[in-house]
Symmetry: C2
Subunit: 179 residues, 2 copies
């Protein structure tokens, strides 16, 4: 393992010090975690439904905030898959696809904007759940399982936001060293 790291470092001496290799690996781990959180959040929100009065069905699509949540999950997921592919390539080969300042700026702005997206989706979901749930309960329609699932999805989205926000701190610190 140590030999391997040394070889990689030696091969890219001009552009990548050892600490950069470490932070790339941490970034890749964070992105894998985000991938898992967003995947489960997606599955949970899509499966969120409950039958009312034995016939009509309440689906996640009926709550606009959950639709927005789904769209932020999809956007975050797509960005994350792209970044994971780039990260895997850069960890394996020791080189970056986007060389120079462009790659670091892409990481910096990408993580920043996507972390804002994920947080807004999660907050909108929680905001809608909290008050709608109280309102439905006051109307003798508890729907606990429906809102429980939606909140589980919003929580996973929040975890996905947290890992992306941590990645964003790393990419902010990496930015001007190379620019």
């Amino acid at each position: 393992m140590e030999n391997n790291t040394n070889t990689t470092t030696a091969a890219t001496t001009t552009s990548a010090p050892s600490s950069s290799t470490v932070s790339r690996t941490v970034l890749l781990l964070l992105r894998v975690l985000t991938f898992v959180f967003l995947l489960i959040a997606f599955i949970v929100i899509v499966l969120t439904k409950e039958t009312l009065d034995g016939e009509s069905e309440l689906k996640f699509k009926d709550i606009h905030a959950y639709r927005y949540m789904l769209s932020t999950i999809v956007i975050g997921f797509a960005y994350n898959c792209l970044q994971m592919a780039l990260s895997i390539f850069s960890v394996v080969s020791g080189n970056r696809v986007l060389n120079g300042g462009a790659g670091y700026k892409f990481d910096f702005y990408g993580d920043k904007i996507i972390s804002y997206f994920l947080l807004s989706g999660s907050a909108a979901g929680f905001g809608a759940s909290e008050d709608l749930h109280r309102f439905f309960k006051a109307n003798d329609l508890p729907l606990n399982s429906f809102f429980g699932k939606a909140n589980a999805s919003a929580s996973l989205l929040l975890f996905g936001f947290l890992t992306t926000a941590i990645a964003s701190v790393f990419t902010s610190f990496a930015l001007p060293k190379k620019a």
Copy 2:
């Protein structure tokens, strides 16, 4: 004006180049804008109420998402006042209160965390408004003015988030140059 800038630059040659003075002034402008947006958002959300059936009154406090919105406005406002005081001091005197890496790290993490707070408050407010408004309308209680005011406050909070997010880009770029 030019003389003044030169004098300031000369006085702090060791730590602050001219571009740093410019970005400090831009940062101060962004913080003044955030201050104005958050102040109006605070006033609007506090004044959000509507009488139901001529007797009972619906207040912003009855919607939990709006309470959360208010708390993020207050947190953002307090942070912003502190940063404005520090910015004014640094623009006037040409020196920073927190010298070295500490000041830049405080700006970086502060702007990052507070921008996340403001966005989550705004998103929670919009998420709750959108679906509650639809739900109330379906129950023949339009409450257009109530939700209109709440959305106005959430929009102003969103503008406050945007100016803080732009400030956060500036403080991210300023970070490792001095660290």
